[in-house]
Symmetry: D2
């Protein structure tokens, strides 16, 4: 089927358009700035901008700095949530973390205290991600992180690599995350020890990937968990759908509502500048992306909300041109 499709859809047109858009938006990075709470993030060239779009028929279009590796940071929250749901079941996970958006900062502790008994509001904020990390199967940080590696390997076909420099920096500056973890420990929403949980969480944040890797994961989610290249259901359909809903309502920090309103695609960003998108199939869209696609974006200059500035601009433009909105 892939061959037929390749004949039918010459991607030259879209490739050229992506190239143009990347160069058009690249200079806007001057209006943002790299995350700099750890040196490794601050030192990256802010003008980097890359994109990869992957369709279920193996159509893959890449442009700009698509192949620069970056640490997944908060994008990993999606993967650990999937890993927890796959290994523990959705009800077990949702007993311990809710799926409601909040208008609070991603690292806020207020709501845990205001709303008894302090169940984290969703797995995309740090509190929820720590809870999720703590319930992964395994008796140690290493065993737990292996569950995440395993699901990534199933999706992208290779074992992920940790950026050890980033991990060490994060470990040393993780005061707020330690505060959150100890708080959750007290209220009973952390099933592992604090340091073990932080080990898992900070490692998953330090996993490296490029835009093609996250485009592929996005594609599988778009495709309801079915891996179109391997021809295998790697994530149960209900987990994939739940995950996409979470990405749409909570995936872009405190700009999630605006992103849903003006882009309309389930997406998850990280402070290192990545955005992973899962675009479900739609009747309203023309080929080649009528059957959905995954999009990976990388642009390290972030905006006031913590999302890639140029990446977000590029994505918004693309969503309009290609009718990618799910609404």
């Amino acid at each position: 089927m892939k061959e037929i499709v390749k004949e039918r859809y010459d991607t030259h047109f879209w490739q050229a358009r992506l190239n143009d858009l990347v160069e058009h938006y690249r200079p806007f990075s001057a209006n943002g700035r790299n995350a700099d709470y750890i040196p490794a993030l601050g030192e990256v060239d802010s003008k980097q901008l890359g994109i990869c779009v992957a369709g279920p028929d193996r159509t893959v279009i890449k442009s700009g700095d698509w192949d620069i590796p970056f640490t997944l940071q908060s994008i990993s929250k999606v993967i650990s949530f999937v890993a927890a749901c796959v290994t523990k079941g959705i009800p077990y996970v949702l007993d311990r973390v809710d799926v409601e958006p909040t208008g609070d900062a991603f690292n806020s502790i207020i709501r845990l205290e205001m709303h008894k008994p302090g169940k984290p509001f969703n797995p995309m904020i740090n509190a929820g991600a720590l809870t999720v990390a703590s319930i992964l199967p395994g008796e140690s940080a290493q065993q737990k992180i292996e569950t995440i590696y395993a699901i990534i390997e199933k999706m992208i076909g290779k074992r992920p690599v940790i950026n050890e420099d980033v991990f060490r920096s994060e470990w040393q500056t993780a005061h707020r995350n330690r505060a959150l973890a100890h708080y959750l420990k007290e209220t009973g929403f952390l099933e592992a020890e604090v340091e073990e949980t932080l080990g898992v969480y900070l490692k998953q944040c330090s996993i490296e990937g490029n835009t093609e890797d996250i485009a592929l994961i996005g594609l599988i989610l778009a495709n309801d968990g079915y891996h179109p290249f391997r021809g295998e259901q790697v994530i149960p359909k209900d987990v994939a759908k739940l995950t996409k809903a979470l990405m749409l309502t909570c995936g872009m920090y405190n700009a999630s509502g605006k992103f849903a309103a003006f882009v309309g695609i389930p997406a998850k960003s990280g402070v290192s500048g990545g955005i992973m998108c899962a675009v479900p199939a739609s009747l309203k869209r023309n080929e080649p992306f009528q059957h959905g696609c995954g999009i990976g974006i990388y642009g390290p200059a972030i905006d006031e909300y913590g999302n890639s500035l140029t990446g977000g601009m590029l994505l918004k433009q693309l969503a309009q041109e290609w009718d990618l909105s799910i609404f």
Copy 2:
């Protein structure tokens, strides 16, 4: 086109299924209770349950208490938001109200005080709906409410009617809404006088409709603002898309995230028991609703979040059976 479709899709099967589901879920109303802050809502028979599903090909399936009129309550927030966007333009509206979900109660005032300068987080909470009501064109409550009537008439083909009893009750007990309005007046997010704004807001909440009326409005939103029966674009496409995104992220009170996760349809509920759904077209769905539909539901027994209890159960089941999720 309608005739052809009617031949092709015999709705008897779906009609029978709806009838079964309505009778199956009706008894669960015992687990909920009517809103009772005003007598008119408390006195309604809790066991009522009705549904109307309307497709763009004029397929209309109705079941149960589909024709019982109820007051729109918070469902009207969707319509007044549309009316404001249509008359003032999206940028004017979004300068005065954000589109971010919050985990706070619909009538909460906390966030206005915590986040300077106190811009309401979204138009689906009371604070935001009051701001929206205040910016509608017109020099009086009557002129402003006429803007809402006009857009409803364009959609359902008849001038809406106010339930005067409900309006009077709401007027007398609107302490919290008055508190919100005075607060917004102080912070500059109310452009009309407090009493004028409350007049508009409480009148729009008291507009009566039945499930067919709101199914039709939902259908037009699903259809990107195009009225499929009248063959006319009654709402601009960008306003329709923005509105559906808002419904998905903020439409079901503090269960919006769970509703997105497990139903996955842009929807707005009201405490009187109505739910208005806009189901966009989808490749994944089978006929007759592949091209999207509007759904109106009415069940006055509400759950802890303020959403129709039996209506929500019915909708969740339907979403699974008919693959209605947008994810």
Copy 3:
């Protein structure tokens, strides 16, 4: 006794010291600014600074702009609280308003929402003062305000006068107070109608007095409610003690703790620049103020907390020189 005391304590020394201090601190008004939310307060000469110290032996020392009339503003909260306790009894009042300090702004609404059932934390914040105003005896704003007038007249020997300009301005800009009052109405902590309550509250804020008037009220409180000039118990002792405790813990807005720490005198300030102090008798102090005193201060330039800037500096210095602290 008074005559004897007068012979013994020549106040010339203290008078000269007060004169020096007033002129020393007057120029610091440049570091503050008048409250300006209503024109009448903003237009006053910021450099005004006056003080009156009144002892139980009729020793009265006045200096600077001691005789300029100003509106009591929040100082009136002390008097209405006393009036409510005298007419309704302490238990009735404390069932409706607590006596706990909060770190929140005087006009904050957050805590009412965070702590169910929303009982105001103390009568020195606006929410609590509105509750107090609403429970004063009387069927109208006029009857209620007369209760306050009556107790003032008992203390200072003349019927107080309202500054009508200030009252009208406050009435028109009272959005936040209206928000608070409507909120309290909803939660059941407002026993009169909203507009009636606001009428009482804004009138009491607009009562005019000078430093001698408030020094005399302070003296009576210092003296456990016993009017040393009239030789009459005008306020019950337990009400007077409770009121002084409230002034110490909550009387100086969000600087109450710092004021207790570095001045150590029960005091209540108002945004118009007044400070009313009740200095209880102390063994540690030398004559003439060993038996306590009342102090009235007026300096319209206020600091970031809403307290008279030069008045506070003058008072702090005086407290150290004369050992006025109760600790």
Copy 4:
């Protein structure tokens, strides 16, 4: 001087009265309950009630379980604050912790997040006490705690002893305090390492004393830092006054306002059931306590606020009978 006083004031009357009151209030412990977050506190006999009153003339009256040792818990916050002020100076300390009361729970983290930059509101809440512990001189937990031991030894004449069982239990369950400490570390209000600070803080909480010990400390504070038995100024006068102000506004958890209103004595409680009071001299009081006194109370059954239930009742009664209020 002591001998003369003893001749003048026969304490038999007060001793008998204290004995009566202790037995009268002891049974009310049934309305409270021991703190039970660590086993050692929960296992203590709830009906214990003891008191020691110490005057500057060496008058010491003891009754009931006055000699049962208990861990100081939050009472130690007063001592570590004094130790920090003495060693670092008041300005250094107050740059890092404010002295404002809050209506929040003692272990609340909300206000740190709501009010940038997150300076703890006062040293009597856990956040503030952790900051204070972190700035004590010394390069290790042991060196820091020695500063506290030293000042206690100066006051009570013996080196304090740690209850190791309690310390170990607290260490293992200190999730919330760890959360607070990590939070403070992030915002820059913790000058030592987290674990070092917790070591100091939890050790100071585990110091054991009886009612006579804390009555003596209270007496010295009442006496403006002058040790009446040793005839030496052991705490500077300004530190003693500041500390008493803090005790009055913040010393009795969220009942501090009520305690100031109805008892009117600078006091600090701990969850183990201790209350330490510093009663300054007063003209209004009769001998033998006109010149002030220290009071130590112990009653492990605590009320909803965390204060000794029977201890508070006993103290309130005594304050009225003996005119102990500072107002």
